[in-house]
């Protein structure tokens, strides 16, 4: 019985079917299933299958993103149940992500947010045109491990440096790792502003985030 619902949970992720994933999450609560088991045995299994297929070049980005979205919603549905049971989902880290102040470009940032969430990070997406103090404020509020900033223009990219300088000034730089991204970001820029890394795409961003958290 358990196996069946776990299989269906995985399938909902593979299909990128958010509605089905949410429905199954609710079903598991109603049947008193352990939410952690639902996540790790059911939904995450689906994420891994899609991830493997992606790695083999058989699945593509949209499938990955749809799986990620379904995963996000399933986890959100199970959150109250987790809290009720005093259970903690094992997360790889807490991330605050946004496009910097003055910049409205969002797709890359949103892609990274979804992929990080699907990979097991707790992600707080502050959207676009996010002022530095809002970013830092949120990072403190949720006890973030990682701050991720995106910019598409060289003229807004400078905000990334400002935020890092602010973190340094407030003595927070050791606690909070910083990753940056966006078309104008280069390795030289990362070195110049003393960020912890960058990636040119979402897949690399996840790998970087895992690395910064001390993982493989």
């Amino acid at each position: 019985m358990n196996q069946d619902i776990l299989k269906r949970m995985a399938q909902s992720i593979i299909d990128g079917d958010s509605d089905a994933a949410v429905a199954l999450a609710k079903e598991s609560i109603d049947t008193n299933m352990d939410p952690l088991e639902a996540i790790s045995g059911g939904f995450v299994a689906g994420v891994n299958t899609v991830g493997d297929a992606f790695g083999r070049g058989e699945a593509f980005l949209p499938e990955l993103v749809m799986a990620g979205e379904a995963m996000k919603l399933a986890v959100a549905t199970l959150d109250p149940e987790l809290k009720k049971r005093g259970a903690q989902r094992q997360i790889l880290g807490r991330v605050v992500i946004a496009t910097v102040e003055g910049d409205i470009h969002e797709i890359g940032k949103s892609l990274v947010a979804t992929m990080l969430s699907a990979s097991g990070f707790e992600v707080h997406d502050l959207g676009v045109d996010a002022p530095g103090d809002k970013l830092i404020g949120k990072a403190l509020e949720v006890n973030a491990d990682l701050l991720a900033m995106s910019a598409l223009l060289t003229t807004t990219m400078v905000r990334q440096r400002e935020v890092i300088e602010e973190l340094e000034k407030e003595g927070l730089r050791q606690r909070i790792k910083v990753m940056v991204g966006g078309a104008p970001v280069t390795r030289d820029w990362v070195t110049t502003i003393r960020a912890d890394g960058y990636s040119e795409d979402a897949i690399g961003a996840v790998a970087l985030a895992k690395k910064l958290m001390g993982g493989a």
Partner: protein
Amino acid sequence: MTSRIQSITNPRIKLQILSEEDIRKIHNATLRIIDEVGVRFPSKRALEIWADAGADVDFERMVVRARGELIEAALRRCPPVYSLAARDPQQDLPLDGNHVYLGTDGCGVEVIDIANGERRISRLQDVRDIARLGDALEQIAFHWVPVSAQDAPVATRGLHEIKAIWENSSKHVQTESIYNVHEAQVAIEMASMIAGGRRALRNRPVLSLMQCTASPLGHDGGSLDAALLAAEAGVPTGFMTMAACLTTGPATLAGNLAVGNAEVITGTALLQLAFPGAPVFYAAAQTASDLRTGAYTGGGPEDFLFGGATNALADFYDIPLSMGSFATGAKEPNWQAGIENSLSTFMASASMADMLLGAGFLHGSRIWSFEEMMMDCEIFSIVQKMMQGIVVDEETLALEAIAAVGPSGNFLTQKHTRRHMRELFVPEFMDRRPYAEWESRQDGAYDWALAKARRLLAEHEPAPLERGLSEEFDRMIAAAKASALP
């Protein structure tokens, strides 16, 4: 010293990717999108202009919906033909539908250093150098700001950039890096000083502006306000869509065209509503995002198709087109760069896009390469030659020469050959040497292109700016910096 400009004109090759019916369908779909879905205009001024014109404006979401009649009526005000002016009137560019002009691409962030081959962050001096090279090359008809002057202050960077180009070239300057009102005001003033006053600027716009949309179905607030200022001054302005299949546009090419079209024609209509008759152009660099990473690709069959198709849309609206071409995704001047740049440029040229953007980049418009710039110019020359087609007449059928040579023999010494041999293309960078020579020297296009770039940079002297203008520009930029918001 007047530098001749090479353009593609009087084409003898025709390309039709979209039928008249296809265009109508795309246009109608676009009007439906504008009416039912809406386009985002995050500028209070823009929203008010739309509201005054009778559009359906949601001030809170900053989304505009407008009926087809309103859009079509506004678009009918667009002037179909006008010229981009240069400091040297002999280098003016009539956008009359019978010319294809090549510009430098922009706006990159790194440069492969011409002296030591190292990749480094772009600086203001690069803008000067590239402008000077563009000034020397006949294939370059106008300039974009090629790379971001990252050592110039953010608040006035765009102004430093256009000043740098004007100081190093007499050709037309089109900037894609001025997207706020503050800088636009000063830029227009600078342009009018070059032209000889505001009225002169209107007649001979030595500056034009290009603004990017925010796909899907959106605009940037600062860009809108800067564009309105430009339209008011008679400075030609275009909105460029870079809608990308899969990510910021539908996975299907027609849908992607429709989305981008909605962005461009609403931006264009806005300018006409505010300033009827303002010179405008359609700008586009649609693409398909990489299926594996979502990354910007810089080339591929989809790009080539968009390149060949978009001018049919621009022609439908009877306005000039600025089309993304070249701008390979390759990391070095290699096979990929050759394919992508040749096919994209051929497609855009064969459909007679008025402006091609643009020469000089690697890695999807991010890394400036002086070698690539030279090689891109040669690709343009090759395409230009192809577009001249095959002329069939008494002279070219060469019956007299053929009879004179008779069976066997050769044509090398015929007078006819002497008359026409210079019409045959002589490449600068294609290797046609005997194999053994290549084997012993092991050099090729890269080396020759680099040598040419270095030589031109060392030797070419552009026509200087009018006396005192540079200093005046410095004062204006300093004042702009002082009054800029933090």
